[in-house]
């Protein structure tokens, strides 16, 4: 601050390009809403099926897993209402992987903008997460409709659990995309690494199989680690909200589910804070490295 002596009246001055991070994203929510709307509008532009593609993909994925695991490996016989079990886990993984992988690429994809105009760069990973959430809603509606057909009577606590699960996913995916997205600016290895994480995520949480199968094999301390994974908590919370109320309760949910849910939320919030911290460290180099 060498100039303070020559011009003492610095009231109202700001350092350009030094924002307040995620707080700025909230302050510019009108722009955020336009960015999300743009992404939603242009995603399937020029394709004949349009938004039907966002149904075709999860349905195909579901059929593949259902036939391979449910029919051939006969999980259909050991897990009641296996189709609902499978689908309520898959929607979680779809939301997470779409938000995470698009969020990681969002800064590179918006390079022309980042290089020319200053705006809070956190807008891009956050809008990727919101777009994934928009994509997630029709899947949940389909899931809810199927559950209703087989007699779904969830309790209020179970529905709150579903909300908690979604919040965990959104917070976790935003934090991770800020972390990997900002590294991806200089090292495109990050986006390949994220593809790997997403691949593992499908299998590292009880989406396709039941938690009891894991508990039988893993020692207790590893099982705790498995349950501390925020994705495991989110998947089980959605199982508890959608699948469990459609069964007769003979296949139990994992114990202390709400506790693990709260732990998962805390871990996700810590991840968000860490992602924001690294993002701000690396942000000053975005415009020159892209």
């Amino acid at each position: 601050m060498t100039h303070t002596a020559s011009s003492p009246d610095l009231e109202g001055f700001v350092r350009p390009g030094k924002g307040a991070g995620l707080v700025d994203v909230f302050n510019r929510r009108y722009l955020l809403s336009l960015l999300v709307r743009k992404e939603v509008q242009v995603r399937y532009r020029g394709s004949a099926l349009g938004w039907l593609w966002s149904y075709v993909k999860p349905v195909t994925q579901f059929l593949v897993f259902f036939i391979a695991l449910g029919v051939f490996l006969q999980l259909n016989n050991s897990i009641p209402n296996y189709p609902i079990y499978l689908f309520s886990g898959l929607v979680v993984i779809n939301l997470f992987s779409e938000a995470f992988s698009n969020g990681t690429k969002s800064l590179v994809d918006n390079a022309p903008l980042i290089k020319k105009i200053y705006l809070p760069r956190e807008l891009f990973p956050v809008s990727s997460t919101l777009v994934a959430l928009v994509n997630f809603i029709p899947q949940v509606i389909v899931l809810g409709a199927v559950c209703l057909l087989v007699g779904w009577t969830p309790s209020a606590v179970q529905l709150v659990g579903v909300l908690l699960g979604i919040v965990i996913l959104v917070v976790l995916a935003t934090g991770l995309s800020m972390l990997f997205g900002s590294i991806n600016v200089s090292f495109r290895d990050a986006q390949n690494f994220v593809e790997l994480i997403v691949l593992v995520a499908t299998w590292a949480s009880p989406v396709l199989y039941r938690w009891t199968m894991v508990a039988e094999i893993l020692p207790d301390w590893l099982m705790v680690l498995y349950q501390i994974n925020p994705l495991t908590a989110a998947v089980e919370l959605l199982h508890a909200g959608f699948w469990y109320p459609t069964t007769d309760g003979s296949a139990p949910l994992p114990p202390h589910l709400l506790t693990f849910g709260v732990i998962a939320l805390v871990i996700s919030l810590a991840m968000l804070a860490f992602g924001q911290f690294i993002f701000r460290k690396l942000e000053r180099r975005f415009a020159q490295d892209l």
């Binding site: 700001v14 743009k38 509008q41 022309p112 903008l113 200053y118």
Partner: protein, 252 residues
């Protein structure tokens, strides 16, 4: 951010932009993968070299002033403009700005070809920092200025390049700002439109906005701005009356 140019003019002009001892260094990497880095390290070749784009640049620009940044290609003008807009961060020294800053820097950066002209106006005005209310109020003016008229609901990808630039420029020039950064305005559209743009920029200046202009059209810049800062290889070599600055640049 509150606008500052709505306030009654003070008796003493206040600074709008303060640059003190600014320097910006770029790292030029010579290797692009781990394998190349290892080989270069074995052969004892430098992995990277640095390039000083700006070196110890200081100046103050007062509210309502119009200042040209002059210099040949690669002198650091655009880097300076990007430091003022916040796109780049300085490696030494600091920039301070007061009031809203918006740039007419390579207009059309935020345009999406699959959106209509109308949707692009809203998206880009919001990118440039306007609120929904401000855009609603300015919308008709923006469309009229761009001379797009009936094509406003057509997707921008079907526009001719002239129409595209006119619309992009029109959005940028109608942004609510206090400090307007202008990079190469005269690459926009045909001559009548260029004249109209220049007229609009002059009008903004009369209204008390601060202008920082970069252009290679020396005559235009000298007439538009009162003051010019001449930059050569990242350092300020002259700061004064704009016609004098142009004469010095031509003599270089």
């Amino acid at each position: 951010m509150p606008k500052t140019s709505d306030r009654p003019p003070d008796a003493v002009p206040r600074a709008a932009v303060i640059a003190s001892n600014l320097s910006k260094r770029f790292l030029l990497r010579h290797t692009h993968s781990l394998k190349e880095s290892v080989i270069a390290a074995f052969r004892r070749r430098p992995l990277s070299t640095t390039f000083d784009a700006l070196n110890d640049v200081s100046f103050e620009i007062c509210e309502g002033e119009s200042v040209a940044l002059l210099g040949f290609n690669g002198s650091g003008k655009s880097t300076l403009l990007k430091l003022i807009s916040g796109v780049l961060q300085p490696d030494g020294g600091e920039v301070l700005t007061r009031g809203r800053v918006a740039g007419l820097i390579e207009v059309g950066a935020g345009f999406h070809p699959d959106l209509s002209g109308r949707e692009n106006i809203y998206l880009n005005a919001a990118i440039l920092g306007m609120t929904q209310k401000e855009i609603d109020a300015r919308y008709d003016e923006i469309v009229e200025f761009s001379e797009i008229g009936q094509f406003i609901d057509t997707e921008v990808k079907h526009y001719s390049s002239g129409m595209f630039l006119r619309l992009a420029f029109s959005v940028a020039i109608h942004t609510e700002v206090d400090i307007l950064l202008v990079d190469e305005i005269l690459s926009v559209g045909d001559e009548p439109f260029q004249r109209k743009c220049l007229e609009k920029i002059r009008q903004l200046h009369v209204e008390g906005k601060t202008l920082v202009v970069v252009s290679h059209d020396l005559q235009m810049v000298a007439d538009l701005c009162e003051r010019a800062i001449l930059i050569n290889k990242g350092t300020v070599v002259f700061d004064g009356e704009s016609h004098d600055a142009v004469a010095r640049l031509r003599a270089q």
